[in-house]
Amino acid sequence: MAEYIKDGTIRLNNGASACSYAAAVGKMEGEGPLGECFDYISQGAELGEKTWEKAESKLQQYAFEIALSKGKLQKQDISVIFAGDLLNQCTGSAYGLRDSDTPFIGLYGACSTMAESLMLASLYADMRLGYYFAAITSSHFCSAERQFRFPINYGGVRPPTAQWTATASGCCITRSADKPPFIKAVTAGKITDMGVKDANNMGAAMAGAAYDSLSRHMENLKRTPDEYDGIFTGDLGQVGTDILHELFEKRGIDISRVHKDCGLMLYDREKQDVHAGGSGCGCSASVLCAHILPQIAEGKLHNVLFAATGALMSTTMSQQGESIPGISHVVEISDTL
C-alpha cells in the first residue's frame, strides 16, 4: 500500500510495474539518436490528417494502441487512462482517445505531464484500484507552434535558448508489481516560479522546479545521487541542464555524472536545428517509453529518477508580463522491488 513519507513524497510499498510501453514519433525524432528505439515513426508531420491537431491526436492514439498490443491487452483491460497534452483544453488527448471507451482522467502539467500521469497510474496500480492503467501524453511541433508562437511558414527567427517541441507521443501501461521496471516512489512537484519571464527560455523557467523536486525526493527518502545510475529530467534543454548542475553544485552535490535530459537525448543538436534542445509533453514521454523503460527491463539501468518538467504558462499570461511558473514531478523506477 502506498505510504506518505513527507512533503509530497509517497513510497509505493506494493509497487507498480510498467508492463507495456510504446512511443510514436515524427520523422525528425525518428532521425535523431534514439531513432531505432521507437515503435512507430511517421513519414510526414500530417499523419494523413487535415489538421495538425488531428495529427497529434492520431499520434497519441497510435502510442496507446501499440502499447496495448505489445502488452497483449485489449482496451477493455484498462481501468483508467491518465492523459494530457499541450493543446488548449487538452484536446490532443480528448480527441485522440475519444473512441477508447475507457474511464479517462485528463491532466495538464505542461511538459511535465508524462511524470504526472505515470505517478497517478502507478499509485492506482499500487493501491489496486483496478487492473491496468495507462499514462499517455503527446505533443506535435506544428500544433504547438501555431498555438504558442507563430504560423509554421512565418520567417521569424528563434533565439538560441528556444527549444523545439517534439512531435511525439508515449504511452506507459502500469499494473500491480509483477516484473521490472518497478515504480517505487513518487514526489509531486510544487509550482516553482523563479521569476523568469522569457517564453523563449523555458529551460531556465523550469530548472528551478527540477532542482526543488529532485532534492526533495532524495532528501525525503534519504538518498544521494550516487544511488542512481540515471537521473532523467524532462526537457530542460542545454540552458536548463547547465543551470540545474550549477544549483546542485552550489550545495556540493555533483549530479552531472548521472544526469541526462530527455530534451538533449531526443535530438542531435549538432545536426538537427533544435537550438537548446527538445521540449513538449511527447519529448520526455517518448524518451521514457522508448529508451529508459526498455533499458531498465533489460537490466542496463537499475535505479532511475524520471523528472519531467513543465512550464505552466499561457501566451496570455506571458503577454501580460507575468513570469513563468515551472513544475516537475519525480517518479523513481527500478529493476528490483
Binding site: K50, F150, P151, G155, G156, T161
Partner: protein, 149 residues
Amino acid sequence: MDISKKEYEQTAKKYAGSSKMYITIPMAFLIGGLICCIGEFFLNMYQQLAGLDFDQASAYTSITLVFLSALFTGFGWYGRIAKHGGAGTLVPITGFANAVVSPALEFKTEGYVLGTGAKMFVIAGPVIVYGIAAAFIYGIIYYIYGFFS
C-alpha cells in the same frame, strides 16, 4: 526552495547564450541585400523593357516582390531562407508579405472567415496600425511646419 530569485537569475543569465552575431549580421546583410538587388533588377527591367516611368515601375516592383514572397511562403521556402536571413528577410516588403500569407495559410483549417480572414493580420496588424498612426502624426507635424516656412 533554498535559492533566492536573485541568485537564480544570476545563474540563469550566465547560461543564456546569445546569437552568434558574427554570423547572423553578415547573413542578414547578404540575404537582405540580395532581395534588394532582385528588386533593383525588376525596377530596371520594368523601366527599360516595359517603358514604365520610375513611379509606375516602383509599384510593379513591389507587387512582384510581394507575389514572389507569397509564392515562396506557400511552398514553405520563405521560412527556410529566413532562418539564415533573419532581419534581412524580415525588413524588406517580402517579410511583410510573409507575415500576412503565413497566418492566412496556417489558419485555413478554421475556415475562410474565422480562420484565414480573422487571423490574416495577426502578425502584420500591429505594423499597419502603428504605421498609419505614425504617418498621421508625421502629417500633422508636416502641416504645422508648413505655416512657419
